[in-house]
């Protein structure tokens, strides 16, 4: 079972990384969401997998590790806040800059750096 779990974590990571490397804001948001699933699952698994072991005293004999769970719980909520912030930032950048590229410009246009040094790249 651990192998399958690890495979899923790896796959989610790979999908997340690939989407994060895209050029448009929405893809990056999707990628970061996938990546945060992967990270949460990874952190959760550092307490090892356990069946029927909810960390509620008296409910079972052997408990799963409660500490990673507590960490991941807050991570999920903070992750939501950051995703929301990112999405709104993406909308704002499209509203102000007129496109939804992560650099705030379509790459065929010269960048600020290139304009400063007078080189086309």
């Amino acid at each position: 079972m651990e192998g399958v779990y690890a495979f899923c974590v790896g796959l989610l990571t790979a999908c997340g990384v690939f989407l994060c490397l895209r050029g448009r804001t929405f893809s990056v948001v999707l990628g970061l969401t996938l990546l945060s699933y992967a990270v949460n699952l990874f952190l959760f698994a550092s307490g090892r997998l356990a069946l029927y072991g909810a960390a509620v005293l008296g409910s079972t004999e052997k408990y799963g590790d409660p500490l990673p769970q507590a960490l991941v719980l807050t991570a999920i909520v903070i992750g939501f806040a950051m995703t929301a912030f990112l999405v709104i930032l993406a909308m704002r950048s499209r509203a102000d800059l007129g496109n939804d590229h992560v650099d705030g410009r379509i790459p065929s246009e010269p960048s600020l750096v290139q304009r400063r040094t007078g080189r086309k790249g």
Binding site: A6, L11, V17, N40, I78, M82, I88
Partner: protein, 944 residues
Amino acid sequence: MSLYLIPLAPLLGALVPLFSGRSGRSALALSVALFPAWALVYMLIQAQAVLDGETLRFAVDWIPAIGLQLAFRLDGLGLLFCLLILIIGLLVILYARYYLSEQENMGRFYSYLLLFMTAMLGIVLSNNLLQLWLFWELTSISSFLLISFWSHKSDARKGARMALAITGAGGLALLAGLLLIGNMVGDYSLDTVLANGALIKANPAYPVALVLLLLGAFTKSAQFPFHFWLPHAMAAPTPVSAYLHSATMVKAGIFLLARFYPAMSGTDMWFLAVSMTGLITLLYGAFTALFQHDLKGLLAYSTISHLGLITLLLGMNTRLAAVAAVFHIINHATFKASLFMAAGIIDHESGSRDMRKLNGLWKYMPHTAALAMVAASSMAGVPLLNGFLSKEMFFAETLDQSTLGGLSWVIPVLATVGGAFSVAYSLRFIHDVFFNGDPIDLPRTPHEPPRYMKVPVEILVALCLLVGVFPNYVVNSLLNAASAAVLNGRLPEYSLAIWHGFNIPMLMSLAAMAGGLYIYYNRRMLFQFHAQFPQHDAKQIFEGAVQYVAKQCERIIDALENGSLQRYVFLLLLFALMFMAGPLLDLHHSAGSRPQLELNGVVLTGAILLSLSAVATVIWARRRFIALLSLSVTGLIVSIAFAYFSAPDLALTQLSVEIITVILLMLALFFLPQTTLKESSPNRLTRDLSLAALIGGVVGSISYALMTRPLLSISDYYLTHSKTGGGGDNVVNVILVDFRGFDTLGEITVLGIAALGIYKLIAGMRLYMPAGDDSGRPWSQDRHPMILALVSQNLLPLALLVSVYILLRGHNLPGGGFIAGLITSVAIIQQYIAHGVDWIKHRVRINYQALIAGGVLLAALTGAGAWAFDRPFLTSWFDHFHLPWIGDFELASAMLFDLGVYLTVVGAAMLILANLGKLTTSERPAFENGDAPRAPATHHKEEF
């Protein structure tokens, strides 16, 4: 003795110009001078003890946790340098009063000068290596300010920058060296270091430490090949040169050599590095000084040469040589300071420093000329003056060493040659300036300076004479104490006398005199010879080097930083991959010894669904709505996974967050393009896919390796103390609101801040509201569906009830503030979806910002409440009660805390979603000036 007062006094004095305002220049000079004068008197009172061989110490703890002390010590060497710094400093203050013109900001000058004085005193009094280094850097910075005092002159700025760059770089080397030395003896206290010389020299890292230390000392003392900054520092006002380049700044390097003499000297390496550098510097400086036409330039190179002489003496590894070095430190400081001051007077009163124009000044300023001639003779080593005594000792010591083996005779010969050039340039200073015909078109007619401007020169020249004639009475005890400090107490036999009989050093002196006369007499030939060499301007070379480095850096930066975030993320991930993969290579087996769970159909199905939906998200990423749907499937499976693997709290949280996130993303998609153009090249795709696959593989392997190894967790503590200490059965919740309550408080604060940030971003947003979707179909104008409206309206009380239940039971069963807050948010959002903003705004009048603030405040106050019972912040309290009809129940302060969490989560989620939702309706914020929202400029071009 409170030694810290000595550096503190000038530091306070540096502040005086702030307060003295317009009280007149003499009053300012006097009030500034009071502080170093007080320090001088204070030290003289204690001096006798030091002269008797005592070492005074003072220390207070600074940061005891890492062993840092503010520690001072005063021994003979420190006393000598303190006297030089304070006495010459006071004379410079007096001199500068007359040197600086009315227009110049004298207050600023004095502040810098006293700051520099503090730094110097700090160096010579420090009893801690790091503290010494701190003051060392402070001298670099304050000397930068002093050299660039005439900052309107390009020369001054460039000279100051060069001095700062060279001495600052040396300072960094010194820091590394001091850290090494501190590590070797295990303590940064100077006392310990000086007592453990043998330990340091036996250490294999000794050569490295020595080279680093010498780099620091040589850059500061302008030793070859780092000498070139000193002549350019002559762009400073002359009082600065008189102070920095006679007694202080450049002597700091010498001081360092002398200070570490007991700990570092005595090895062949020390001898070779120090004495050879000194010898080359001595010769180079003396030779070059002769060809300078600038009066201060001549003095600058002569300073370099004399510093070389002292360095050579310190490098000779004999005890008498060290005594001679200390003696020459005193003598050089006195005659060089007076010469700089005399040069300043000549410059001030005649308007030029060019020796080709300055001639025959004897007729115009006989008094100054007499003083300058005495000082210059001392520099040349004429008998009955102090320079003669130490030069004589120097010649004697060059004879008394055999470190170069069969070639040892070279050193006395070269020393005599250096002496001859020193006589020659001293002669030039006297003859060329005060005699040799008449002045050639000087800007003004020279005359004697104001009376008190000459006083500092007179005092110094008198000292030269007194030391020269009565050495035993004037300096013997100070010299003894200082040399004893350098040699760690093992003082050799020596006698200070003018006449030692007719011996070889005497002959060498005579030869140097005769040689100097001969060289000066034939100077025209030498000048012609010297003119054949190509002239290198160190400033241009240095500036060129600086600009070359800057240009190369710019090229590297331009190459790396092209403004593309995609590239930055790629590089970042690439490095992350390398650091993650490295340790994995050392692992023998990815699987560990922990028994694994058996795979079953449920898990396999979940895994397949998860994989498919994640891959689908990537494949359909350009059709954004479909990608969003498959993303939500992934999220759902993740929450089921949490539930399956014994984490009910996580499952509930993930589920409710998932709902809110998807709603949020759908709202965002309304305003963003709904498809993405195909714009990545095949190369880019391949590159990104391989990186993603590699990172995924590595992360998966780490996860697998981690899960299959036995667990050593600190969680047992939480499991055992959850009930007894936190009063709850749900350990995850107890950790959140009790054990790690402070973390949670921080987290809800972040949540609140993020929500407020989003609120501000939305408030200023000028969005184009699309009338239809990508394919041009107009958005539906239907009213809100009736069935949804009715059902959700009836569901609301139920949902709120559930969330209250979840909140209350959270301490003992899965649930808690986070989850309850999310459930409430979902329930309210459902009302927005079903009824629209218009309907809601008359019925729900909650100020979400106040809700966030109230939540954070409630949580913080609950924590602070513990103070009322003399407990630390966030200590929780709980007890069991019994009420008739209801039965036993428990009350805990953690519940209030959880209520704060609940309020914050509701406030944050609603503030984000309600405001974003409003944008799609007539309730969107009005734009200022009534202008219509600007359509995205590239709307047509982007082909959504």
